[in-house]
Amino acid sequence: MNDNLSNADIVKCENLVYKRSPVMTDNVMHYCPGCGHGTAHQIIAEVIEEMDIQAETIGITPVGCAVLMYNYLDIDMQEAAHGRAPALATAVKRLMPEKYVFTYQGDGDLAAIGTAETIHACNRGENIAIFFINNGIYGMTGGQMAPTTLPNMRSSTSPYGRDVEMMGNPLRITELVAQLPGTYYVTRQAVHTPTYVRKTKKAVRRAFENQKLKKGLSLVEIVSNCNSGWKMSPVQANKWMVDNMFPFYPPGDIKLEGKMLSKD
């Protein structure tokens, strides 16, 4: 910030760089300091605000850390059973095709218990958006191994590190659903720096806008940290995420306008 700005200058509208979206409620968030959920919520709220679709948006919350998302977004929301959000969203969209419908799910919810619902909603090409927060761990239940936990990564149920021989490999479900004809837009982003926040916001906006095209499902994966579950400080966790999660879960678009992007 410019050192020459006085307090009186700071409150001037033209110097405003960030504000809470009116689509967010006043409720105090339960997320751990440094967690990416709050930022992801704010991004979704900002897009709903900017598109002026608060009255036309229905969100489905998962089981996991984001179960209480309905306390933070000032829109109509349904709280699903673990993993079932895409099934709820399917019905909501088919019964009210003119509405904007999204699910917000963690890796345990979307890529373990809800794998069938995820894959089949994607494969049917439901005109919904799925926002997928991947932090490689079960946060809410206290840091257990997730389907996305990296090889050798420690968790409370892989205390000596994920042994892939015994526990299987992490699942890149985003790459998997990108193969399906029903997905129209598949991307992987993050929210740990302002640059990535801007990229994620563009992706979220595109996922909402795509619903009007009726060409299939949009999935935005957001690689995030779980500093509590990873037993790190927020800063350490973000660094660890870039060094370890990004090589396995590289950020960037995977499928655009129904076409797979070639890897080079």
């Binding site: 009255a55 929301m77 699903a80 019905a91 009210m96 619902e117």
Partner: protein
Amino acid sequence: MKELKLMKGNEAIAEAAIRAGADGYFGYPITPQSEVLEYLMAEKPHERTGMIVLQAESEIAAINMVYGGAACGRKVFTSSSSPGISLKQEGLSYIAGAELPCLVVNVVRGGPGLGTIQPAQSDYFQATKGGGHGDYRLIVLAPASVQEMADFVELGFDLAFKYRNPAMILTDGALGQMMEKVWLREHKPRMTEFPAWATTGKTPDRERNIITSLDLDSARQEEFNLKLQAKYNKMGEEEVRYEMTDCDDAEFLLVAYGTSARICQKAVQLARKKGIRAGLLRPITLFPFPKKPLKEMASRLKGILSVEMSTGQMVEDVLLAVNGQVRVEHYGRMGGIIPSPDEIADVLEHKFTGGKNYE
């Protein structure tokens, strides 16, 4: 327009739902109920009324689609048979916990496990005592004819919306597969206005609507449990439905629902030919159970025989209702076997008036 048709029970349910103004059906194939989904797909209700039909990837997905649709205030339903209904129990618990109206049809087959595809009544406990986790109940309707299969679709929806509670039609493979003539009601238009609690999009004139079964505050969760119980008690006062046949002078009472009740109607006639003054009480609502008429009749009866195609599940509710005032016995056939009227009349004779021991 009202129409008379010859239909299978499963088809009657499907056609009745279109005519009752249902908004959506989400199903998954399983014998002996697949005709519900097949009929709806063939009938294209989207063109007739705008109702949507979707074959889900599993029974679990289907019931959760019902959850999502019900949360939008829509008239939605699903159907399955016993193993599939077991898979739906998680969803039903959430739907009951979120206080959403919906209709679920269970065309029961014999169990446990994969069991058999033949008719049975062995899901009574699951249907009437909750089924999934937590303290909740379903409104349970037990049709005994193809006509009632059709009629109870609308009744089930009405009760579900009245109480914001899931309702179940508990029928069996015999009623699902048999063909009978059925009067179909004229088309009722689909809803155009939705309940105030529905998640239809937060307009500026109202607070946001949240559909959830979660409350981490113990005091509030207990309060919610008490609220549900009060709702179930109200159902017990206002929604009990049953039918009595030849009960005025009866000394011996058969209690049976659904397919068993049809057979017991004939068994009552056969017993009376033998000189046994028999009557039949047919519970139509299994939850709430017709406790009161049983309790009132108990002191003047010499015996009650609960007849079920199970090892004896409803008999426990009969025992609770009469509270020791009269001897209660159970007779059941399992594994898809339907008892004959002669068999039931003989059992009644021998259990209560001596003779051949049927134990």
